[in-house]
Symmetry: C2
Subunit: 423 residues, 2 copies
Amino acid sequence: MEKIAIGFLGCGNIGCGVYKLLESYGAQIEANEGVAFDVRKILVRSLGKKRAYDVDERLLTDKPEDVLDDPDIAIVMEFMGGNEPASSYMIRALEHGKTVVTANKMALASRWDEIVAAAREHQSGLYYEASVCGAVPIIRAINDSLQANRITSVMGIINGTTNYILTRMSSEGAAYADVLADAQRLGLAEPDPTADVEGYDAAYKLSILSTLAFHKHVPVTSVYREGITNVTPLDVQCGKEFGLTLKLLAVAKEEDGVVQARVHPTFVPNAHPLASVNNAFNAVYVQGHACGEMMFYGRGAGDMPTASALVSDLIKAAKTKRHTMPAVAAGDCVMAEDWHCVHFIRMQAKDQPGVLSYVCGKFAEHGVSIASMVQKGEGEQSGSVQLIFLTHTASEKAVRTALGEMDSAMVIQGSVIRVEGKQ
Amino acid sequence: MEKIAIGFLGCGNIGCGVYKLLESYGAQIEANEGVAFDVRKILVRSLGKKRAYDVDERLLTDKPEDVLDDPDIAIVMEFMGGNEPASSYMIRALEHGKTVVTANKMALASRWDEIVAAAREHQSGLYYEASVCGAVPIIRAINDSLQANRITSVMGIINGTTNYILTRMSSEGAAYADVLADAQRLGLAEPDPTADVEGYDAAYKLSILSTLAFHKHVPVTSVYREGITNVTPLDVQCGKEFGLTLKLLAVAKEEDGVVQARVHPTFVPNAHPLASVNNAFNAVYVQGHACGEMMFYGRGAGDMPTASALVSDLIKAAKTKRHTMPAVAAGDCVMAEDWHCVHFIRMQAKDQPGVLSYVCGKFAEHGVSIASMVQKGEGEQSGSVQLIFLTHTASEKAVRTALGEMDSAMVIQGSVIRVEGKQ
């Protein structure tokens, strides 16, 4: 069988995973799928570097043109990560009529318009299943399985590092910094964890997912983002008492043509399927007008799970005669300026008559209705009490305004955590 | 845009769901996907019958040839259910070069060879996402997203009726017959519930799933099948004490070229993702050598979820230039004659010295190693005790032989329930 020539951009863990998978399972793929691949060139930064897998050294090059300008190479697989030079390389490959298979959510989300335009203009294939949730075929599900649905919401645990940290904080009552340090020791968090813990990684992925789900471009700059660095064991514990589990959730909803897309620490009810997605696992919960609720669960990172998605895209690309891009309306979509959800609010208040009435009065004034409340004494000596409120569905703005107006001499505000998935 | 002429075989709840979805969402599908459909003919048994949706009566016919032999009709959608005449109609349509989209697991599993051969011989399209787990795109996942994986196991809750019954038995401690009666009242179980509660429905689906996962034909007649009619509240309760949840699981595994496929009541650890799949929801848990563990969760039945999958197939079929069938080796595969798993064994034994030693001796004799055991007195008057064993991974045959040899004057055996998903 004629082999399709492919080139790699990058050869870190993911690239080595793809190389290994093609080497070890390529014959079976050929037997099952009728396509075979030949890795021709691999662009690396440093030729002499020790790699995670024993890659044929004759394939290595440090000249991008060896991959991008070789007319024999039909498919370029990109796993360099980062915005540049990955984006420019992908665009150049697309302009040369090559198909691009990528795992790069940052480049894709940041330069969506340019990359997609290059693919469209040159009728080149562009495949990016691996860019969101590793092995989990959520892109394929939205594009190829839920086409008959108006998707109303997408909620996901789409960053493994933060889910690992929150899972341990929840099960052990541990502090954020301690678990982060552990995760770094175990290689589950980067030495600079910002992209994960501040929600940037999840925001890139949510931009891609919501753009496909709603058929409108949701730029990553329009995604509201809040990380997990301020989450305290006390919040986690108080949530438990209300039957809630804390997750860094990526939430996108469309209502009456207006889209909200946001990444923030979120409580979900323990009985919700997302609540039991633990450790480094990822899951995306989708609601469609015909299909109802669905969830897709699996390994969102790691060399072999990511390689599984990349090689799946490679096979799909090789079998596709005419590449198409999912329909996305031109221009950016209308983003919500406010949204409604249940809010968990924890505050420390002066232990004196009238405080509770004062706080409740402020909420009422702004139309924030309280579903349940717990007051916890902190000992008579302390002079303060903990107040924990769970609101009914309420406007985010109204909640913020009400809290902003409260006299700091009476209440010290602890946390406001949004709640999703409550029936 | 030119509309693709389609014909329906059947117009019950599912057919009405597809009709409604095409009518209400067809314009959006056309905008997003670039394909449009025109329902030309609908085969029904009785022309005058009242239907779930207001279908254009001029489309109805009681003559199969109006659908099957009309050269204008390119795609035939089958939702009659049952083996005949559905199978013959599908084969006839395929022989006429038409694409068939079906939700019929019984016909597909029972007559796999013939139906697939007809599609292959005439290069006709055959799409059946809706035949397994309603809206959940598990067929697409196996065929189009996990192609780079040697799939080692597929475990699913793939029958909503039995999952509803077991969920309620578990949460309420209720008896099987009572919950079944309730489910029948609510329309969640058929007046004759045999196909669901005896595991036939799950066996059809497992035959299809395992055939695709392992690329070998696993005939439905080779699927071991045991229903839930003998499950007692006592078993459910005892399992809970061991941290186990009872499910009707469809399990397929391949090891060294030998396949095991079985449907039976199964305990899964509470922390396993399948344990929290409740009520009428379906989920399939897949393990692949590259992707690791994955789970696909959603609504396995109902008119609109099933229509979501059928219309997705319809769109895919319409956009596909050359239909292909997944690679399945010729001939049936080698099925396991025995399998190994953890066993939960409950028995009532004479409350007399030496019984426990006798029972443990029998297990030891056959190489069945015990992981944990609980003995519960039933009151000194009763003269008997309950013994509950959890084995280490043990051969099914060895367990059965050991139990078969035990003297019924000493022990009355209650239940043997297999356990899957234990680490």
